[in-house]
Amino acid sequence: MTPVSFDGRSLDSSCYQDQALFDLEMERVFRASWVYVGHETDVGQVGDFATVEIGTTPCILVRADDGSLQVLRNRCPHRGTTVCQVPNGNVKRFRCQYHGWTFDTRGRTVGVTFPEAYSQEALSAKNLMPLPKVESYRGFVFASFNPMVPSLSDHLGPAAGYLDRYVDHCGQRALRTTPDAHMSTYPGNWKLQMENGVDGYHANFTHASFFDIMAKRTGKRSRYITASGGGETFDLGNGHVVLDQSQVASSALLDRLMTLPGYADAQKGVDGLDSPEVNRLLAAIPGPGFNLAIYPNLQLIGIQVREIVPLSVTSTLVRVRPLLLAEGPAVINRLRLRYHEMFYGPAGFGQPDDFEMFARISAGLAGNCRDRTWFDRGVKESNPAPDDGIRPPEKGQLTDELPQRGQYREWLRRMSNSPATEDGAMA
């Protein structure tokens, strides 16, 4: 395998391009630990399913006939055909179209075409191989290939507190995901999107056109990022990190609402809600104000649930959808949809700009010259590297690259399959 290192400040750039390393990531970063596979409201009723991925491996999240959540391999145990071809729906059985084998919602093989030619033994172990670990935390469902993985709550650690704040950002009101998602791919490695979702340093340039348009529309200054003007970053351990803009950005985010059709009318009142509740729900449209990245494939940003799906070493699918009120006035949910659409999706005013940067990074790294990629912004001279290789400094400023360092420490730990050594070299 190619020797690679993250030394606490910079990364060997080949980690965005190396095929052998990517294959190892699928095993050690994705299959060895917890991966986000969906929201419980995606599969609310028995038989509801959604096709999902663990790294590049296709799986099916399904609400089984006993009410349990199962994650099955989307792979016929006979010859390997995918048994489900659509993103979501409701079924009693999955059927492989190749030879007609059928499977129930717990993955058990319930029908084999002309079974007489098989012994009972030959069939007994053939099923859709339900993943050994499926757990959810407050509606967010995670799964793992690894039966020995620590509990989900150990894995989340202090990130669970941020998940709570996210889930509770509309008070007692329950939330649901939209059935549809914005799906876009970019020509670049999956880690680029993981870095970017918690990057407090890029917005003024990457999203300059959006800030200009907002300033023009609202008549107010729309840039909120300054060298040291508030906002914080946190490393929560296990690769989970936070970019907290709630103090510094909330007024700029609320100003954006003024450009949404229907917002001014909603401010005057919403049928069935008293006026303090209207104000609370309108103020909650931009979400709790922080970006939370749950390693390795989930980001909660504003009101958005973002899934990062590696397709190949230099191709990535990003699936985003807003959270809406599970029950509540359509007026509020429409504003939440419009707020999300403004920045996200293939024609949003923000997300395509990030994708363009990922494409340019891929272009800039062509030729694999073994360059370094730097994440040393805000490294404290007094504390240049974590002494035990694991515990990083926990808190930084908004534009510090502390979240990315947290992600790459975890990446290195998993890739080494042992605690990182002091100089960050692979064990």
């Binding site: 549809d180 998602a181 200009d212 529309r217 359509a330 659409e341 024609a347």
Partner: protein, 95 residues
């Protein structure tokens, strides 16, 4: 619009062709002038979506959002960053 397509498909074809041309030559003010003040530009995620307001959309623009899309922003250094050219695909229209 549906009536127009069934009764005068050629006229609709000419209108769309003209719109594409204006975008190709970056005549944005004239492109905008094709749209009325109450225009709604809708591109849903789900082609079967029934109602723009309650759906997740790729585009649901009112007139001012259309203006945002072509607003001149940035400075000369920003314009040097515009390396690409848009690729438009104009295939068919039907009611």
């Amino acid at each position: 619009v549906i009536d127009l397509i069934s009764h005068n498909p050629r006229m609709v074809g000419e209108l769309l062709s003209n719109e594409a041309h204006l975008l190709d030559i970056a005549e944005y003010p004239e492109w905008l002038s094709l749209y009325t003040a109450d225009a709604e530009y809708w591109m849903p995620v789900d082609p079967g979506a029934a109602d723009p307001a309650d759906s997740l959309n790729i585009i649901l623009d009112d007139r001012s959002r259309l203006e945002d899309r072509v607003a001149p922003v940035g400075d000369e250094a920003d314009r040097l960053q515009l390396g690409g050219r848009p690729l438009r695909s104009w295939t068919r229209f039907r009611s």
